[in-house]
Every structure is written in C-alpha cells, then in structure tokens.
Symmetry: C2
Subunit: 307 residues, 2 copies
C-alpha cells in the first residue's frame, strides 16, 4: 500500500455571480481555505461577498465558475478580465444548451456543472456556505472535455462539500427533466388547478398540497428559463409521468411508494469504490447512480449503490 | 355588550382507534382537560394511550370519534358498548362514502369530520398531541345533521387546537380531491416515472423530487383506500390538473406561482367574524375560505380571508 500522492496546489477560484448559488459556493470555498475571487453586476451582492472573505475583482483565473441565471450565461464573461488559460465551469440547471453556447466558445476548457442544491429562495441574502454539503454535483465529461480540467472543477465541488456525479450533458438533461423540471411543472399545474377550485379548497390545503407545490414558489422567470431551456427532455419526461397516471390507481400508488421508499432509504447501502482517471470509467460510475467523494493523484474515491 | 354565556359542561369523548390520528387526538384532549376514553383492537396502541392518560374501555359515550382506516369505518363500533344517545364523528379522509355507510346507520347523530393533519407516518408510535394545532378540520353540516351535535363535534376539534371549516360532504370531497388526493397520485406518478428513468436520475434527485414525492411515502393501502373512496371527484380534479399541463409553460408557471405565493402568504389578511348558529351561515363561512375558532353560547367566532 502506498500513501496517496498529493496533487498540485489548488488554483484560485473565480465566481461570476454572487447570488444564492454563487455566493454560497464562494463562502463555502473561503471556509475550505481556497483563494476565492468573485464578481457580480449588483454592488450589494459584491459587498455581501466581500464581507464573507471573497476578493471582489474583475480579474479572474484558475477555475472560473459561472453562477448566473441561464439567460445571462452566454454573456457572463463580458467585461471581465479572465485568464485565457482558465478552466471555466458553470452551475446552470441545463447542460446541453450551455455546452452549445459557452462550451462552443471555450472548447475543452469548459466543464459544464450543475449542483443539485438551492432552495426556492434566491439572491445574495439567501447565501449559505453549507448549501452544497452532501449534495450531488453533476459534472459533464464530454468527449472533448480535458480531463485535468474536469478534475479541477471536481475539486471545487468537493471542497464545497458536494459529491461529484460524472455525466454527459445529454444524460444530465434527461435525468434532471425527470427529477427536477417535471416536478416544477406538476407543482405549477397542481397549484393552478387548486386555485381555480376556489377558497374552500385552498382553506383545506395541508401538507400534501404544501409539499407538492413548494418548488413553484421559486422565481417564475428562473423556472421558465429552466424548463424551456430543457424543453425536449422535459416534454418527454412529462409524457412518461402522464403515462403513469393512466395506470390503475392501486398499481400506480404501489409503484410510486416502492420508488420513494427505496429513494428515502438510500445511503443505507453504499459500496466504496476507486475509479481510475478515465472518462469511460467515471461515466460508468455516474450511470450506476454513484458519485465521487475524493480526488487523489492517480484515481478518485467514491461509492456506488449496493445491490 | 354582554359577556358570553358559558355552554353546558363538555361531554366525555370516546376515541375508537388509537393510531397516529386517534392517539394524537386523545392525547391533545387529555391535555385540554377533557374526559377521554378510548379503544383500539391493538393492545400496544391501548397501552400507549393509557400511558398518556386515556381511560381504556369499550364503554363509550358523549362524542365518539371514529379514528380508524376508511375500510374499517363501517364496522368500527362492532363489539363496543356505545351510548345510543352519543354523537358520532369520524376522521376519515373522504366524507360522502362515510356518510353513506356510518351516517346512514346513525342518522342525525352522525357528524362527518376530517382534520387536515397527519404525516406520512402512521401508528400509535407517531402520536403527537400537537398534530392538530392550527390545522383546518372539516366538519360536515348536511341538511339532516343535528346542529347541537355538530357544535359538540366542533368543540372536540377546537379543544385539539384545530380550526373548524363547516362544509357539506360533497363540497369536502371535491375540495380534498384537488388539494390532497390528486397530490398523492401526482407524487406516485412522479416517483414511478423517475424510478423507470434509472439510477443516474435518482442519484441526481434533490429537493424538488423529495418534496414532490413525500406524500407517496405514506402506507399504500391508506392512499389507495383514500383515492378509490373518492374516485369521482379525484378523477375530475386530476383532469383539471392535466388540462393545466396543456397550457404554454411560461403561462402555467406564472399561474401556479401566483396561487402558491398567495397561499404561502395566507394568514396575513384575516378578518374576524361572528357567525350565528345557523347551517346556511356556517356553510357560507366555509365556502368563503374561512374557519371557526371558538364556540360561544349563541354564536361562533372565526375568520374569513380578506380581500
């Protein structure tokens, strides 16, 4: 057995956009001892970040994280002075469109990312350095992605307390359509239909309605950009949900309960694995439902679900 | 101005079924100083209730509360010694079918009820005397319901910390189809569809999936009995949700967000009202989205939403 070989010193991180996600990431990385710089068009967000130890500057390098809303992604670096050797990653909730815009401009230097975290709140006042603790963070490994850059982006996610799920952009967009974008549409439809049912129905609304509609409390512009930005996979995933609703109710209830129970019990059965620094091996880990928890010099450590 | 005239001394309460709902109600009423008796077919549930100050006996009178699952409702009083003058109420999640079975046998002595409380847990170990605090409690006022018995049942709900919503059984079943039963079906369909999408999708599932599927963590037999027991209104409410899903997404998201935001902000605008002890006036209060918070001798106090 040999001791792990330390990797090169961690590069600085530059966070563009210091709202809930970017501000939380910057704060988490400051806490983890990283050199964190950042910028936001909003002076109040810059001030809040500076108070948390972020060096506010337009000069960014190392790993640059785009933490801006999807519609602002393509122009996020405009007016900033970014090291042309920097690795660029993002936190956007869809990946194929971002790969097509930012990724097309940056080539192998771009690593698409998406932390499965965040709440219905937004803005720098909703910053929480623990936001990513234990969350899954999808990180795209396209055929053209430079693996050393992918690993640098992965270190950022790991330093924020997340677990990294290697995916392709297309796989990611299909998966989040099913587990995130369709839930937003269902919540909207449920709320809108109950609203039209009148005051008595809303007066009787309790836990199942509150839970089933919580995500539609999010900023509608954000939700619309998300579902429209992933329209194809979201429409396909919605069709699969509608097909489930055609099943006899006892069968539907039983199937849904089974998935939910298995999901709620996850973490009980995890098997530790080591994965070589190889695209195919990393993507296999993600497809098996696993995640990377630590980067070492010659491999990563992680886990896959048991059974 | 005259001081309120005290009502007659509160009668004993007999709780049949001491699981999560019945056990919690019994505990809440003991805490409120009521004389509480109870029975359960399960000796462990009886023991747990006795430890909370409930007098365990088959001899019940005053206001008898049926806190058993829907399929057991019609036979809930079998083997018990119930005062033939007792008022009988229930906690079942659908009201027209219970009115047709228990109500048909008991006539004006039966007052259908449904507290909008409970969690995905069940059984006497999930008992919580605060379960009903601040919850809405639908209480049916049919043309044949004897108003003094309705008021006795209302006192039980109020003593448990709930607010009473006067409804007809049919109005109740339509309303809960929209805000409770359809959410259960949507949660089941969402979970089942995500399950078939594979391990990567479930690995990326985060807050929106957890919230959107939480209620389907409930006992499937309970959920199935609920939706099948309210099949007509639930199918109609589901069709209304499906119609919402046909709208353009930006419009759908905006409509859903509007209802959710108004709902989340409720309580901000409430106007206090006094309602005479009259069926039509009480039902109007419920239809306006209001609730009863206190019973006095000649009227009830409550509130309606402002605006």
């Amino acid at each position: 057995m040999s001791l792990p070989v330390p990797t090169m010193e961690a590069p600085p991180v530059g966070v563009v956009g210091l709202g809930q996600l970017g501000g939380s990431l910057a704060a988490a990385l400051v806490a983890a001892g990283r050199d964190v710089r950042g910028w936001d068009v909003d002076p109040a967000a810059r001030e809040a970040a500076a108070a948390r130890g972020v060096r506010v500057t337009r000069e960014l390098g190392g790993v640059v994280v785009l933490a801006v809303p999807l519609p602002a992604m393509a122009a996020a670096l405009d007016g900033l002075d970014v090291d042309p050797a920097a690795t660029v990653t993002d936190l956007g909730s869809v990946k194929v469109p971002v790969l097509g815009s930012v990724g097309a401009a940056l080539g192998g230097r771009f690593v698409g990312g998406h932390p499965m975290a965040g709440t219905e709140r937004s803005g720098h006042a909703a910053t929480d350095p623990e936001l990513f603790r234990g969350a899954r963070w999808a990180l795209c490994l396209e055929p053209g992605t430079e693996l050393p850059r992918w690993l640098r982006a992965a270190e950022v996610a790991l330093d924020a307390g997340a677990e990294v799920v290697p995916v392709t952009a297309a796989e990611h967009d299909d998966a989040v359509a099913a587990v995130s974008h369709v839930p937003h549409l269902l919540a909207a439809a449920l709320a809108a239909a109950a609203g039209s049912a009148g005051p008595l129905a809303l007066a009787l609304a309790a836990g199942s309605f509150r839970d089933g509609t919580r995500v539609i409390g999010s900023d509608p512009a954000f939700v619309t950009a998300m579902v429209e930005g992933n329209a194809g996979p979201t429409a396909a995933a919605l069709a699969r949900v509608l097909a489930q609703l055609e099943r006899p109710w006892p069968e539907l209830v039983s199937a849904g309960h089974g998935v939910r129970s298995a999901q709620a019990g996850e973490g009980a059965g995890r098997r530790a694995v080591r994965v070589p620094l190889d695209r195919a091996a990393l993507l296999s880990l993600g497809r098996a439902g696993g995640a990377v928890t630590r980067r070492l010099a010659a491999f990563v450590e992680g886990w896959v679900p048991e059974g």
